[in-house]
Subunit: 555 residues, 2 copies
């Protein structure tokens, strides 16, 4: 049971399946915002499309609409005031459920084809989405394009590939022929149908409204479930554009557009009611521990895939490339002002300092040199604003302003004036030092550009502390700098025990806070920062069930 | 990274992988207790091995032992008094954790090979296990052999096949080479390690101590986790023999035997403490809703795979083979006195009766004829005792004695005297009628040989009622008898919505309460009777995580 859209995208799917198997580099979506790839007018068109939304009603033709809501506030200080449809959540759920049987009957190949077409269409609209991501999240342009566009699409495609990989191994029918010695065999025909679990709720975050949302959206859709996206109140536009495009593709494919809808919900209580609705069978969530834990405790009717807070950390034991190490870390700490779930917060350095290719460096020298590297890197205002972006939430601005209370300041934050956006909230990172014993200072997530150089007894203590941080508080990323194989082995074992991904001696163009779709497992699901990996078989296999029927046939 | 035991069993594994893909009939374990297959002395040896346990200490050489416990009471009325080691659960957990790193480092192929060797060794001991199952559970001999031996081994093998299927697709290392336009590419070496989640607790039931336990045991073991089996206090011996054999294989393979241990726990509170221990990361449970729900509510640190109660039902709308239908149902209701999680409890029949090849039959005639078919089938005492076995628990005997209060008796239960076991608790089934409106009577699980012919308005009402029963109370099996394609289609759709397996017009040698490994999905995970299917990808994929490390290499 194939489908025209499956055939259209089959080559891409097969390459994606090859990539999740080999985990070598691959992507079908070009990460460069190049006119040659995306078209000469793509940037201008995308920008114009977003500007056309400002101050207007964003129509989606969803059921149960009873009003409009405009809650976004751009970190760049530009007016948005986009009005989104507010719909009765019961109406959205009922419409989603009504759309489900035809989606199930379409079969895995049909669903996969439609999902791939949506991703292809999203890719063609990457500039529009990127401008929407930039303005709502405060990301710099290049990140907004890459992470908001092609990289997010990669992650959606990765989820579709895993979903297909699992579903394609379910045979639709079988003949079961059991010998009975001298008697005639028992012969049965059996049919196996893949059935989605039910309505999937995907709750977006304010910083990565597409990158963190697409895996859940596409894993759920591809496995037969209707999806309701509940975006963060500060970053609705990228989700709304995504839903609009997906609904257009569904209609073109003769399917019910209510398979995917946008739930703009103003009150926390309404989100809670939606999340605990009996019809909601899965929830994908990225965000705070408080609401994530609430979901895990209360949305017991649903499978909850939650990416929560963590304390990402790097151990610096020694290095053979001191300057490149500092440059690499300076970029990591600056990128999108540390507003990434993967940004390093704690940098563990021995009290006695470290051996480097530049001679021995004391603890204080390491901290100072890292601060200086950040300062130097951000010395050019154009580089600084492009890399830092703007601060997404007032809470993060507050955290930056209060950071000095948590340690000794090595590098203080400065507010910068953005050349193009005079009202943008641009703040350089804060770098602090503290003692390993001062756990309250560095051992809880301080989301934003706030990091600590933590003084530990020695390299072994650093490895042990890193492991304990991951076990107790979770982490999506851990790094190590060491020239000694025994330290690398000890850290490897520690991360295997703690269940966290390790990057070793990054001194070039890859950063500990970057995760490449099809190759890196983003999150392991093995420590408190996330209960799932994005994506793997476990991320998709529980989203559908196989329902069988059997009856006798003549042999 | 292969392993001698992997190579030894590779052909079997490949056939098992073929079977879970094709879902055609296949098994490597002969279900006939034949001397030609299992050896001329196998039966006598197995019986002697079990008899040698009676009244003795069953030594396992486990850590933390501080006493002995003997709790089993044979439903056949024969003395058992086997004394099992009682071990400090903290010691079992610590030993399990200590055994885990080497098990992880062995790799998926090594673990798979060791699991397959354990299964092979269990198969060779099928007679010993079968006698132990028979005496502890009350199963008849043939069922004890088949379900307790080869069929349980099939299910363990099926779980190992799924576990290998998922793990073998994780590449151990990759080279990631990302082009950078005119600049040199970014090149990284990445390693991906499969790591188990942690200690797996498998809680057995009193009726199928191996069949219901092996999927969880082998799914957990194969994916890198140490296993602690907590058997039902009434059916310890089959689990103890299993643990003994598995530990022998582990020692022979140079591994720590504490990868699998037996937790004999007398008090419910101790089981609860074990189940909520922070080190316990998965729990496989088969049993009552009360304790199952307690686990789901309280063992939040673990992934809980629970098979709970249900109300299995059959819709009789019409038939073209009335006699064979009645014979088939009579066997289903008699087999092991209905003490199967798959036995039909509610038989939904239109008030106006049904069309059959023997003419129209009124509701009362159908109920009466079914009662007569059961009576006739059990007329021979040797057939009766072989099929019925004995009643496993006093609670079930009580339920049989009180069943008359729940409906109009069509066929009352009789206590039979077993020719070989004069003290055996042998009871024939009770068949009752009631009205569909009397939901309290038939719409909760009454475990044991108690079933209801339920009067429904018509065929359509029967299909709708079946769907509602499954949705609200769960079911592992649903059956339908109908000669009309539109009724079959309606029932098919109902079972797809409710999420339950359907058997249609069973009139021969396959019964609705039978589930064939490698072909039938036992449980769907889509209704309240079970939150997992045994086995499928979802049953194994969450039992391990992939931990990566990456570093730059020269191209």
């Amino acid at each position: 049971m194939s489908h025209p859209l499956f055939e259209k995208h089959q080559a891409t799917l097969e390459q994606a399946l090859g990539a999740i198997r080999s985990r070598a580099y691959w992507t079908p979506f070009n990460e460069m915002p190049s006119p040659r790839v995306y078209g000469e007018t793509a940037d201008a068109d995308g920008k114009a499309a977003v500007e056309a939304c400002v101050g207007r009603e964003f129509t989606l033709d969803q059921p149960g609409q009873h009003g409009w809501s405009a809650t976004e506030r751009s970190p760049y200080g530009v007016p948005l005031d986009v009005k989104y449809p507010v719909c009765d959540t019961e109406a959205l759920i009922a419409a989603a459920q009504a759309a489900m049987p035809a989606w199930q009957k379409l079969g895995a190949a049909g669903r996969t084809g439609v999902c791939l077409e949506i991703l292809d269409r999203l890719n063609k609209n990457s500039f529009e989405i990127a401008h929407a991501v930039m303005l709502t999240t405060g990301q710099g342009w290049m990140m907004a394009f890459q992470a908001g566009g092609p990289h997010a699409q990669d992650r959606g495609l990765e989820a579709v590939a895993y979903a297909w990989d699992e579903q394609s191994r379910i045979v639709p029918e079988a003949t079961w022929n059991k010998p009975q010695g001298k008697n005639p065999p028992l012969v049965m025909k059996k049919h196996f149908e893949i059935v989605g679990r039910g309505v999937a709720l995907v709750i977006g975050c304010g910083t990565f409204p597409t990158w963190n949302t697409y895996p859940g959206v596409f894993a759920a859709l591809a496995t037969g479930n209707p999806v309701i996206i509940k975006p963060h109140s500060g970053a609705i536009l990228p989700a709304a554009i995504t839903v609009r495009i997906a609904r257009e593709v569904l209609v073109e494919a003769g399917l019910d557009p209510n398979l995917i809808s946008l739930a703009v919900v103003d009150k926390r209580a309404d989100t809670q009611a939606l999340a605990t609705h009996p019809a909601v069978k899965s929830i994908d969530f990225t965000g705070s521990n408080v609401f994530g834990q609430w979901l895990l405790d209360n949305a017991r009717q649903a499978q909850v895939y939650a990416e929560l807070a963590g304390v990402n950390n790097v151990v610096i034991e020694s290095t053979d490339n001191y300057k490149a190490m500092l440059r690499n870390l300076a970029f990591t700490l600056s990128l999108y002002s540390g507003q990434m779930c993967t940004t390093t917060q704690a940098i563990l350095v021995p009290a006695g300092g470290i051996d480097t290719d530049q001679g021995h460096k004391s603890f204080d020298e390491v901290a100072h040199d890292l601060g200086a590297a950040i300062e130097k890197f951000l010395g050019d205002i154009n580089v600084a604003t492009a890399v830092l972006g703007a601060i997404q939430s007032e809470a993060t601005v507050d955290r930056i302003n209060e950071a000095g209370a948590h340690g000794t300041i090595v590098l203080d934050s400065k507010k910068l004036v953005h050349p193009q956006f005079p009202n943008a909230e641009v703040h350089t990172p804060v770098l602090l030092t503290c003692d390993a014993a001062d756990e309250k200072r560095y051992m809880e997530e301080r989301f934003g550009p706030i990091s600590f150089v933590v003084k530990v007894a020695d390299g072994a203590a650093a490895v042990a502390l890193s492991e304990r941080i991951v076990r107790e508080h979770g982490a999506l990323t851990v790094g190590l700098y060491s020239t000694k194989q025994d330290v690398i082995d000890a850290m490897t074992d520690a991360t295997l025990r703690a269940g966290v991904a390790l990057s070793i001696n990054l001194t070039g163009g890859v950063f500990v806070n970057q995760s490449a779709a099809f190759s890196d497992y983003h999150g392991t699901g093995a420590n408190p920062s996330a209960n799932a990996s994005y994506s793997d078989a476990a991320f998709v296999a529980n989203r559908f069930r196989v329902i069988q029927r059997r009856y006798h046939i003549a042999e």
